[in-house]
Amino acid sequence: MPKTTEFLAALEANGYDFFAGVPCSLLKGVIRRFDAEPRWGYISAVREDSAVGLAAGAWMSGKKPAVFLQNSGLGVCLNALVSLNAIYEIPTLLVTTWRGQGGKDAPEHLVMGEIMQSYFDLIKLPWRVLGKETVADDVAAITREIDRRKVPGGLIVPAGILDASR
């Protein structure tokens, strides 16, 4: 059973109120809900780093932003994360899918699928893998970490948790 409803409730419970991103099939359920429910105000961004920039402006305006992306988009975001968020101390939740997990996926996902945790470590950002049975706890834990450190943090989403809209 997907956990999309539980995940969206956890985002709201943790205060998130600004959403932007670029989709991934592993986020199909969440994005479908965003598209069906205008109250979320989800912004379909043209690039993942633009979504990070939108989130930065929103954060300074008093919002609590979450950005949605495939892990391929992490590479696109590198300069934004290190030369915007890191130095200005702007927190953002990066809901990042785990394509290429376990080396079983299309070729374009294999390298990032293998290195994404190391990538977060290298640029000194916290991350946490979303567990199917621990959705609320995981969202709360990574949120505490990014609020405490005033940095973006990755919530890594494996297949089978947010792919369907319920």
């Binding site: 600004f18 633009s50 920039g53 939108l54 930065a56 402006g57 929103a58 008093g62 919002k63 130095i87």
Partner: protein, 185 residues
Amino acid sequence: MHRAEAVRLVMEAVRDELVVVCNGMIGREAFTAKDREANFYMIGSMGLALSIGLGTALARPEKRVLVLDGDGNVLMSTGVLASAAAAGAKNLLHVVLDNEAHGSTGDQATISSKVRLEAIAKASGYRWAERVPAERLQQELPAFLAREGPAMLLVKVEKGNLHGIARVIHEPPEIARRFARACQA
């Protein structure tokens, strides 16, 4: 007209707008012309000034947001022109100082001598996007600042950097805190 003079005219015309300034010399020139809490000096993340400005404009629809941008920054994220238009950000104004060069790295040519950025903005769905002659910038600015956005005013400026332009003295976290205070005031 030199870019620093154009920046000075823009900063003199600004009243209570939130101003997001792109990286490079434009930020230093804006700081030198008129430092204020409501200025966000983006010192890194080239290409993202419009994204930051759009995020601010959408989160604070009751405020007016001005993005002070350069041709190099706009060319790096032309897709975000479409984002601003698609979002229908009425409170977003975009001034582009186009010197057809990467002015902070040695005036290497961009491609804006061959590409009309205001035409891209218009085709993307900006409500208004025009190139204004530098000698008319000062008189056009008050009307531009009152426009419904997204609106782009592009002005061609001279290449080259003036002496005596200060570096932004505030540390980045302080720039963000000041801007956040102005956004949330």
